[in-house]
Symmetry: C2
Subunit: 272 residues, 2 copies
């Protein structure tokens, strides 16, 4: 049994939390003054090429490929440097998470935060990638938003980022992640895409998380989670991965050494 007893009142006494510890705080709000840059395009995206960031850049590239006027500036918010706690960013997203968007297409600029809110806002504006079955599309879009915290903040954290391996949390979140993969796998066994025959923002939201996972690229956990067993998810992920706009969108706001990565995107030529 554990020899730990929680205190009566929780207090912030120490830095802990592994790889991303310095980014975790029990309070909200800005830590420093910093304005956001603004470019020439109607859409100003403040993001990073994590799975949540990729959702939005994939949709921007899909909309552009389909002929919609969605030219955008994608500015890097480096969460490892604390950029998400700058005053300008917090004014766009009080939750201090990427991605956040300023939409300057109307008379008054509007802010949006939460990746799926941005997806739905843009897809509705251009009546694109919504599919014909809105109830099914909405169900899967919201499913992803509630599921991914178990994959990323749960499994990914305890398997890859926590300061030491802990059996109970790893078991808990591995079980849930495998259940989620099985939910997708059974659903995709006889459907081309999540909402049926049409590729929608539900697929765009889900691919960067669960597609990357079944490709073995997330948390080095492919073998641990036996991702090769989810054959229908793999078939679906390969089809999405082959789309040119997906290839472009997943390269934006990336900071690694891969020569295909671009830290910021301000013109189509940045990705050509």
């Amino acid at each position: 049994m554990s020899d730990y007893t929680p205190p009566r009142v929780w207090t912030w006494e120490k830095e802990s939390g592994g790889t991303w510890a310095s980014q975790n705080r029990p309070i909200a709000g800005p830590t420093h003054d910093k304005d956001l840059p603004r470019g020439d395009h109607p859409y100003q995206l403040y993001s990073m090429g994590t799975p949540n960031g990729q959702k939005v850049t994939i949709l921007f590239e899909e909309l552009l490929a389909a002929g919609h006027p969605t030219e955008y500036d994608a500015w890097l918010i480096d969460i490892s440097e604390g950029d998400q706690f700058g005053s300008g960013f917090v004014a766009v997203n009080p939750n201090s998470k990427i991605p956040a968007l300023m939409d300057h297409t109307g008379d008054t600029p509007v802010r949006l935060f939460e990746s799926a809110a941005i997806l739905l806002h843009l897809a509705e504006r251009y009546d694109a990638f919504l599919g014909p079955d809105r109830p099914e599309m909405l169900s899967w879009l919201f499913w992803l938003q509630g599921a991914a915290p178990y994959l990323g903040g749960g499994f990914g954290h305890f398997y890859a980022y926590a300061p030491e391996p802990m059996e109970y949390p790893i078991d808990r979140y591995a079980m849930e992640t495998k259940r989620q993969l099985d939910v997708l796998d059974r659903h995709l066994a006889d459907r081309r895409f999540l909402a049926g025959d049409s590729y929608t923002i539900a697929d765009i939201a889900t691919f960067p998380w669960y597609g990357r996972l079944v490709f073995g690229k997330a948390y080095d956990a492919g073998e641990f989670l036996s991702v090769q067993d989810y054959t229908h998810v793999l078939r679906w992920a390969h089809e999405i991965d082959a789309r040119p706009a997906v290839r472009r969108g997943t390269r934006v706001n990336r900071t690694g050494d891969d020569p295909s990565f671009v830290r910021e995107r301000h013109a189509a030529s940045d990705l050509d």
Copy 2:
């Protein structure tokens, strides 16, 4: 340091997981054959009065109070009994979570799952509780769906349901829960509701989770999280809690001993 090393391949070897252990599985799909009942009303809700379930019954009661034709049957899906794994329920929600809805208002019945998908579907159908600022409403609606897994599946699990107290996970999720409360508190310091002056489905989604938390009714954690400090959240929660439709909606599909609770709702008179 930990003496645990994860295996190369995770396998389902044992039941673990505390209070809700028997409900956690690494596979999806039904465990038994069981059809769902169907009543006379256009909306058939299959749910339980947890925070996610309450969101939908609050909206149904709000819509009825506003004069919309949203009569509904609310059937109890007892997740402590495994009802969510019955074949009929899984056909409506392949994710085996409450709430799930069958909408029989059109020529062809449609399914919806995920509480916020149901909220958006119903609010759009009747153009009600959407507010005038859709980008802000959507941002907060999706914020809640991504935040609550840290409160419920994270903090609630490790603080109240896990088989023994574990310091690192409790610290991790207490910190994040307090950060979320502070996000809400700063935002509500100068706004009546989440999306501005209008009460919307973003409030309806957030109240059962964070309102209950600041009232000290969630996980017996009021003192631990110092919930009394979040005065603007408390002000907001009290205003919502006083709404008659909220009072009615939070009593539906409840299984405890409180005499105000109703296990199922099939007519307005069940709540009168």
